[in-house]
């Protein structure tokens, strides 16, 4: 890379530092450059402006549809009980949430994707609205995800969510990466009110692409999401999908929330190697302050036992 290109990138970073939103030309400059660090620096400035040195994370217990729910009280560090899978009918969906809520106690229950529920409703807006309301009444704290990739009519979908009183835990880009991902991020950035019904943007692919994505590609996508999508407050990375190491590095490239830190394994691996300890160490090691949250994105205490749930 020539010195000229480096100087141009440094100028972009400086502009962002001074509060100037990156222009199309700036973004093109950052995207086209192999200088990953410059891209990270620009994203980090924006991220720190929004969140300071705070990084939130949630520890979850998964409840796959059709499987037995956990017996007894959930472990104290559980921030969310997540129902996973694709329901076969409205009744199955609502029943699963009711059962999960009964099991979860004060722990928020989340689950399902907008696309799956839309399929289940036969793409009928009225039926979908009824199903969303029924799920909320059954105790669903937040919808699991909305995929930007699959949305035919984003405005209508966001309006439907708003009217149902449900918020989605995350907007994802589905499997979109590279230039497709970039163009989808630009579209999301133009969606009015998306930040009110989607708590965060999870920009990395939800299913492992083949060949697998690379570290550069993942971090580029995280950083660009932070730079381009300023109508969603949080950028999220997934511990379970991407692993603790990449999730940690992504915090220095614009991410501010870590999803899906498992609760399981805490006992089996010993205290220092339990996921809860690892995530605290990882966040501190990346230079940030860890804030545990629950499935409603409310901060909870770091303590153990009932203390942990005091904030809910």
């Amino acid at each position: 890379m020539s010195e000229d290109v480096t100087a141009a990138l440094e100028q972009v970073v400086e502009n962002v530092t001074n509060g100037v939103s990156p222009s199309e030309a700036d973004v093109a400059q950052l995207v086209g450059s192999p200088d990953l660090i410059a891209l990270g620096m620009a994203a980090d400035v924006v991220r720190r402006r929004r969140h300071g040195d705070r990084v939130t994370f949630v520890q979850i217990v998964e409840a796959p549809l059709g499987a037995a729910l956990p017996e007894g009280p959930l472990p104290a560090q559980t921030g969310e009980l997540r129902v996973t899978g694709r329901p076969e009918s409205d009744a199955v969906a609502v029943g699963a949430i009711r059962a999960a809520v009964a099991c979860a106690g004060v722990v928020p229950v989340t689950g399902f994707s907008f696309a799956d529920l839309d399929d289940l409703s036969g793409h009928n807006v009225g039926r979908l609205a009824k199903l969303l309301s029924a799920l909320r009444e059954a105790g669903l704290a937040q919808l699991g995800e909305v995929s930007a990739e699959g949305l035919q009519d984003p405005d209508a979908a966001l309006a439907l969510l708003r009217d149902s009183g449900l918020v989605a835990a995350r907007l994802t880009l589905g499997a979109a990466t590279g230039t497709v991902g970039l163009s989808l991020m630009r579209q999301v950035a133009s969606w009015h009110g998306v930040g009110e019904v989607c708590r965060c943007l999870a920009p990395l692919p939800r299913v492992a692409p083949s060949p697998p994505s690379t570290g550069y590609a993942d971090l580029r996508q995280v950083a660009l999401a932070r730079l381009l999508v300023d109508n969603i407050d949080s950028i999220q990375v997934d511990w379970a999908l991407y692993g603790p190491k990449l999730a940690q590095v992504a915090l220095t490239f614009g991410a501010d929330d870590v999803d899906a830190v498992p609760v399981a394994g805490a006992k089996e691996q010993g205290w220092r190697r339990s996921p809860g300890e690892v995530i605290l160490r990882n966040i501190a090691g990346a230079g940030f302050t860890a804030v545990p949250r629950n499935g409603r994105f409310e901060a909870v205490d770091v303590g153990t036992g009932s203390e942990r749930h005091a904030g809910r």
Partner: protein, 404 residues
């Protein structure tokens, strides 16, 4: 001195002292460290080439008397799980390595009291007789020291004998942290003190061989001791210029006596970047994808590394401690190109051999690394009967081999 003024010093080509290095390591933002390391990498390698080597990491024995507290690989003398590879097994591994375009074997093993210096000499001669152009990158400084103690010959004489038998270069293993306080805690001071490790390397360089250097961080050492390690290497490199490359990796705690937790990915990138800044007289820094995984391994290229290390083919030591990542040549090349670099195949001495070999000829894809021996394979090589053993279990084993 503030972080910003130290950063300016780096940008203008100044040499960091220990206090400045420690200050950067403790206080500089990770991205700034990366930016500075990348500046130095670009200065040293303006062509945007990233190199790698096709070789095989073979551990000829896992029997070891050193008993390092951080090691999950070794087995004590007399263990049912102890092994020594036979010459034929090693030849087979070299044949497989040649078939995928490999140019050398990285041969390291435990400090086995029942393998005398003559065994190594015979092995090296036999390899060179069969494969005259194939390179032997073998025996880290503690292994050489072990052979010196075992044979009661001084290190320069042992090195001379090994070179005469075919040794081409020396891997930088066994350095761990070159500070004796940490080495004592790791129970590896007796295998080689910091001074001894450096002294063996000096001898190797004086004998005309090149070597690599390593650092295993993240176990018991303090940050200032990591930095001390880097300065000890820098000083020897100033003196001899014999190191071709530096590789750092994080301590892998699984299945070890020491236990504990692994350092994080960010800590790896910070340590790598700092190494690039301190080791200003090292041309090459390798990414440790074997311990960090492919993704953070690739990110090393943004944090000062200019080399993806070895395609590996086989790995036993890190796997024993819980890390198991595999990248064949095609995958390494994909990662290099994805990061915007040009992949170049190299030798241990960093002579460029060409572009990706799999684009020139058909090489089967590989999704997992081979192991030294399949589990349950307990056979004892027949040629061991020719060499005297020192331990009682070793002597009994030799007798059994001779009888059969």
């Amino acid at each position: 001195m503030s972080v910003e003024s130290i950063a300016s010093k780096v940008r203008s080509g100044g040499r960091l002292d220990r206090a400045e290095a420690l200050s950067l390591y403790a206080d500089a933002p990770t991205l700034l460290l990366g930016q500075l390391a990348d500046t130095i990498r670009r200065r040293k390698h303006p062509a945007r080439d990233v190199t790698y080597i096709i070789d095989r990491n073979v551990n000829y024995t896992n029997v070891c008397v050193a008993r390092c507290a951080f090691c999950a690989f070794y087995r004590p003398v007399g263990s049912d799980e102890g092994y020594v590879l036979g010459f034929d097994e090693l030849f087979r591994k070299i044949d497989e390595t040649l078939a995928v375009g490999g140019v050398q074997v990285l041969l390291q093993g435990g400090h086995n009291p029942d393998l005398p210096l003559e065994w190594y000499e015979d092995l090296f001669r036999a390899i060179k007789a069969r494969y005259p152009d194939f390179k032997l990158h073998a025996l880290s400084p503690p292994e050489i020291l072990h052979l010196s103690r075992l044979s009661q010959e001084p290190v320069p004489a042992v090195v001379a004998r090994l070179v005469a038998a075919g040794l081409d270069s020396v891997p930088g293993g066994g350095a761990e942290i070159l500070v004796d306080r940490a080495r004592r805690l790791l129970n590896c001071e007796s295998k080689a003190t910091a001074d001894e490790w450096l002294s063996v390397m000096r001898t190797v360089h004086q004998a005309g061989l090149r070597s690599t250097a390593t650092m295993m961080y993240g176990s018991v050492e303090r940050p200032d001791e990591r930095i001390e390690h880097l300065y000890r290497l820098r000083e020897l490199q100033d003196e001899t210029g014999g190191f071709t490359a530096f590789i750092t990796w994080s301590y892998q705690p699984t299945n070890t006596e020491l236990g504990g937790v692994e350092a994080t990915g960010v800590e790896y990138l910070r340590t790598l970047a700092l190494s690039r800044l301190v080791l200003d007289n090292f041309d090459n820094l390798q990414a440790s994808w074997v311990t960090q995984g492919g993704k953070v391994g690739q990110l090393s290229l943004a944090y000062g590394a200019n080399d993806m290390g070895s395609v590996m083919i086989e790995e036993n030591v890190v796997r024993a401690a819980g890390a198991e990542f595999c990248m064949d040549e095609a995958e390494i090349v994909r990662n290099i190109e994805d990061a915007g670099f040009a992949p170049k195949r190299r030798t241990m001495a960093y002579d460029i051999l060409g572009g990706p070999l799999f684009r020139e000829r058909d090489i089967p894809r590989r999704t997992e690394l081979a192991v030294a021996r399949r589990s349950g394979d307990t056979h004892v090589p027949a040629e061991l009967a020719q060499y005297p053993a020192r331990s009682r279990p070793g002597k009994q084993q030799r007798d059994a081999v001779s009888d059969s």
